[in-house]
Amino acid sequence: MQLFRRLAYLLNYRRHDRELAQELEFHREMGGRVESPLRLREDAREAWGWLWIDRLGQDLRYAARTLSRSPGFTLAAVAMLAIGIGVNIAAFGFFDIMVLRPLPVRDPETLLHFTRQSPERYASAMPYPEMAFFRDHSRTLEIFAQSPQKLSLEGEAKPRSANAVSENYFVELGASPLLGRLIEPSDASGPPVVVLSEALWRMHFGADAAIAGKTLRLNGKPSTVVGVVPATFSGVSLARPELWIASQQQPYFIDGTKILVDFSDTTQEVLGRLRPGMTPKIAEAELRALAAELRKQYPNDIWENETLPSKPGGYASSAMNGSQSGSGQRGPDKLLPVIMMITALVLLILIAACGNLGSLLLARGVARQREISIRVAVGAGSGRLLRQLFTESLVLAMLGAAAGLALGWAVLRYLLSITDSPSWMNPTPDWRVITFAAGAGFASAMLFGLSPAFQLARQRQRANFLRQALLCAQVAASCVLLIVAALLGRAMNHALTADPGFDYKHAITIDASLAAHGYAPAKAAAFLDTLRARILAVPGVASVGEATSLPLGNRNVVNGFDVDSHHVDMHANNIDPAFFETMKIPLLRGRNFKPGDTNAIIVSQSLAARAWPSVDPLGREIGHGDGKATVVGIAGNARATALEDPDAVEGYFLANAADQPGLSLVVRTAADPESVLPAIATIARGIDPQVFPTVQAMRTAFDVRMRGAEYSAATVAVLGATALLLACLGIVGLVSFAVTQRTREIGVRMALGAKQAHIIAIVLRQFSRPVLLGLVAGTAGAAALSQVLRRLLYGISNLDPEAYIGAVAIFLAAVLAGSLLPARKALRIDPVRALHHD
């Protein structure tokens, strides 16, 4: 009831106020004493509890007036905040897209993503028959799955990326076609059909509106195009397949594939939609029981005590962890440190901006001393004054946040477009991003506005300590950013010039993707033998080797195993004996593979040191059961699939008969690879007209990798430069303020004959301590923070002295130049005039 009356009062606020005024007027007429009717009216209003609205309105109006009276300051402050808040919003926006925002599919919150786990092993993908068993028997879930495939369009050299999906995939994800229809449950047994992506339909088929019903030859097999998937459909992966086929129709398109019945082919990314009323726990329990049941039939294929842990499936992040498998437990998430690193960097920019703005506000506060004294004199309490000053900061912060929202949106949109991200990734801020922007605005208002407001409201003349603390924070934050940028730059330079342990400059790779073409092992071996013989006959070719994971290629198999109770993750590669010679990876100890070697492993020196730091690695065993292998040799370190990660260690196995369809060739050339590339490409494509291998110089793959590193180094460099600029601007402001404040003192000293250098030293001395302190703090901070960066530094130490010294030197030079500029003003002070100052 009281609340209603209070609201009614607020709605009729003007009438109530008028009535009260009339009442007081009457009171006075009758002879009562009404000394200050305004004050009385305000007190009366306070009874209703709405006074804060009045005050807020007053404060806002006052703040708007103050800010609009100094547009230069306002503009600079808003721009500074927009940068500081904007980069945070861009980073949060990306986090939002990847982690917080559900994928644009039907009911994303009831989707689960399943992986395999047993006490000894883990895998992120499942064999088809296992998935099919769960799909047919689960009563808690609708199980569906996808697996990457490659299919060739008629007359095209390069196979197109395809997604083989279970027939209920589109139904479960609630996708609607752009044209025609999508794959439906009836396609499990019907005639072969294919669905096109919108991109392929536009680029390759000229957006043909009558495409549905036409026949398309895939891998030479006729199939009917039934529809087009819109680009706005995200699916549940970050890949962007151009074709979709039904999983069950794969044997039609790919001759000889056993994917539907073979347990060794783990390709299926398995998802499930919880049926109404079910929870992930119930579903996991059911799948565990089903796995145990299936193990009775297939004791070799389903693991002992196999469980199927689930993660939420309706988010971009759940689709991100690529395929992983290994023994033991899954290693720790590698994404988390990167997210933390980015968070720290963007926060540093915000801190630098706030520190800078705080100093500016303090300096401005001195100029406002008179105004504030007047306000105190007419009866403003310090609480009221504080609130008013803080409101001013809050208005600035909110303007900055709004500008930052626009800036963040633009930055994110730009980043998404240059990285060629899928079009369902929408950079437009949603309510989370907007809330974050408001929160960041408020937090920065606290950071830069609260302490200056306190100083001013209490009318303390000596804000010196605070000013120095703000400068110190600013210097530290910019320093960290500069050092990290320098580290990334050094790392790139190192990667470009240092020896990676294998020779990528004189190598060509041939990826025939024989498995995707349905080659059986024997047929694949024959193909590879023919190819190898023909290439070796080309002049300028020195040797040919084979590997399942190409150096600098996109395939990266990480196998985990346990040695003496500690876990080691190795980058595994199945190779032929000629691989080491071809890649120029030295064999340091032991022997190379011999044909027919089974259960032998050659480890990199780094792996040997990691797994057996105190004993001779040769002859040691890893793994268990069928996977058990004995160390026969030790090779040089060559992080061929994880160049940037100094912790990466390698293990090599001899490729066996079953590996043949998955093998690619590496060719070492004596001459410039580009000169023999055309000849080799012609040979590679001439063996089977159905197969169009990808042939490229390894140097090209290297350059592509470097471009990614360049982006991140450039981004951090821009952040660092921004912070440096902010710090310099802050210093210029502070020094020129100090000169103005000490004009008289300087005048006296000059009159007494002080030297110029001495005068400059006096002006700058007060800044040397906060700057030095900031530098020390910043260097320490960078050393701590760069710990997580180590794995991205291509082997450069995260304490690399050159990067640290270089960054600090650049910083000092810039800051010194920035401070000398206004300090020179001190030398032009006329002693006579200075003594008349004030």
């Binding site: 009171h27 007429e29 009874a47």
Partner: protein, 108 residues
């Protein structure tokens, strides 16, 4: 006899009490309290009007426009049913407190 400042918290009780006889306007309330207390208690305008606002907020009184004895339009405050209840409650409470204080003063 010197005038005494209104003891804190007593003003709303007194206002409610003088309103029990019938609606009054603000000036009359002040006058009535002043006279009834034999000129001992003086009601300050600075506390009277905020107190009246509080009565309105709590719903113990309503205000309506009427004509004063001097033929001017003015707001009259009228006690509501809630106001009456509140008055009775506060009076009995006041009695209890008063009695307790008296007991202490007499016996201690």
């Amino acid at each position: 006899m010197p005038k005494i400042d209104m003891p804190s918290g007593a003003l709303p009780l007194l206002i409610l009490r003088v309103l029990r006889a019938g609606p009054l306007h603000g000036y009359a309330i002040a006058q009535r309290i002043h006279t009834l207390s034999s000129d001992v208690l003086k009601v300050e305008e600075g506390s009277l009007y905020p107190a009246l606002q509080k009565l309105l907020l709590k719903g113990w009184a309503t205000a309506e426009w009427g004509i004063s004895e001097t033929n001017r339009k003015v707001r009259f405050y009228r006690l509501t049913r809630d106001g009456r209840k509140q008055l009775e409650m506060e009076m009995s409470e006041y009695d209890r407190v008063h009695e307790a204080i008296q007991t202490i003063l007499r016996t201690a």
